[in-house]
Amino acid sequence: MAGAVRMPVGEVPEGAVLARDLHTPEGQLLLRAGTALTPEALAWLAEKGIDSVPVAETPEAAAEGGADMAVRAALDALAPRFRRVAGDPLMEAIRLALARHLAGHGGGEGRGTD
């Protein structure tokens, strides 16, 4: 679980994201966890009588895992669509990245390699 900090509505920094679902005291759901806390959102919440919100500390890193088999299957599934660009290095790299993404390997795994 990512950490959450409760903050007064007036002190929420730009770019912050709601860590948990937010309800009125009566139990009505106002916003889902993950909603961007834009100035418009905060002004609206203040009008609704909300004085503090749980703000997410860091987004969770995508879990690493899965097997190469899954990537290979995804590559095969993408091949028909890419048939006119087979052998084009950039397009092959894009196909691989998509396959890794579809197989659950992509997004941040290769960060910091050069």
């Binding site: 759901l29 048939r83 993404h101 997004g107 290769g110």
Partner: protein, 288 residues
């Protein structure tokens, strides 16, 4: 085969869609961040049908809150300002072309493809720190509008192009050259210029298959966005083929050396709501 003279036909019968007033008003207003929220709220409040569709979108399962949202301001907060403005532009522009479709070229996959291209264009423009990323959305959204014009003006000719492209496993742009004197990119760019849309939008549409011919970076933006959206397989521009990406366009957007895993994850996220957005375009009439 004798080619159809597109220019001649345009001069004879300019019964073409007009630029919706909402779009020209909004494009102007959205340039000023101080009036953005106000301009959008006014536009939505003024148009009951638009308001109803925004509420339908926010109440769709994708954004699904357990209690129904009936408050437009809550809808704007939940969807985000950017999404609302994209939806308003998409609905207004798609309405201008309502009814132009055929069995071979149905409207829903077409608009799903173009909305996705708009979103990716906007993202690529923002990544490359280009000004007017909202215009990039419109350029992507309208990049294939020439196909709808060809279909409207020359239904049989366009049906023949589609059939040949699919039978020969070729891109539409390769086949349409044999049938028409002006292709879909040139024709779409012509309409955008007629509509007096900003130069970046005109270039984004006109040169999306030949980005090297334009000085404007939006040609590269739309070219790359179109190919990436096809790679993702979102919607359809008439065939399922992924086209090659021009190396110069890729470089121009600062994508040389980009971590492709990160880019794919970023675009996947940006494309997540496309289906729901397209679905509200087809709500309430026009298809019954």
């Amino acid at each position: 085969m004798e080619r159809i003279d597109v220019r001649e036909r345009l001069q004879k019968a300019p019964d073409l869609p007009a630029l919706p007033q909402t779009v020209s008003r909004l494009l102007e207003a959205l340039r000023d961040p101080d009036v953005r929220v106000e301009a959008l709220s006014e536009e939505i409040a003024f148009d009951q049908a638009l308001a109803a569709r925004i509420l339908r979108l926010v109440n769709s399962s994708f954004y699904g809150l357990p209690n129904r949202v009936a408050d437009l301001r809550q809808a704007v907060v939940v969807l985000g300002l950017q999404t609302v403005q994209n939806v308003v532009l998409s609905i207004s522009l798609a309405d201008a072309f309502r009814g132009i479709a055929s069995r071979d070229f149905p409207p829903e996959p077409f608009w799903v493809h173009t909305i996705a291209a708009g979103l990716v264009s906007q993202r690529l423009a923002a990544r490359a720190a280009l000004p007017e990323a909202n215009d990039a959305f419109v350029a992507g959204l309208l990049h294939d509008i020439g196909k709808l014009l060809l279909l409207r003006l020359f239904p049989e000719g366009f049906a023949g192009v589609l059939q040949a492209a699919r039978a020969e496993d070729r891109f539409i742009r390769e086949v349409e050259k044999r049938a028409f004197t002006v292709g879909h990119a040139g024709l779409g760019g012509w309409l955008a210029a007629e509509w007096r849309l900003p130069e970046g939008i005109v270039h984004g549409i006109r040169y999306h298959h030949a980005p090297g011919k334009s000085e404007h970076p939006f040609a590269a933006v739309v070219h790359v966005a179109d190919a990436l959206v096809r790679a993702f397989g979102v919607g359809s521009g008439g065939t399922d083929l992924v086209p090659p990406i021009d190396a110069g366009a890729w470089r121009r957007l600062g994508l040389d050396g980009v971590d492709l895993d990160d880019l794919v994850a970023e675009l996947h996220w940006c494309l997540a709501g496309v289906g729901e957005t397209a679905a509200v375009l087809f709500d309430g009439g026009g298809r019954g």
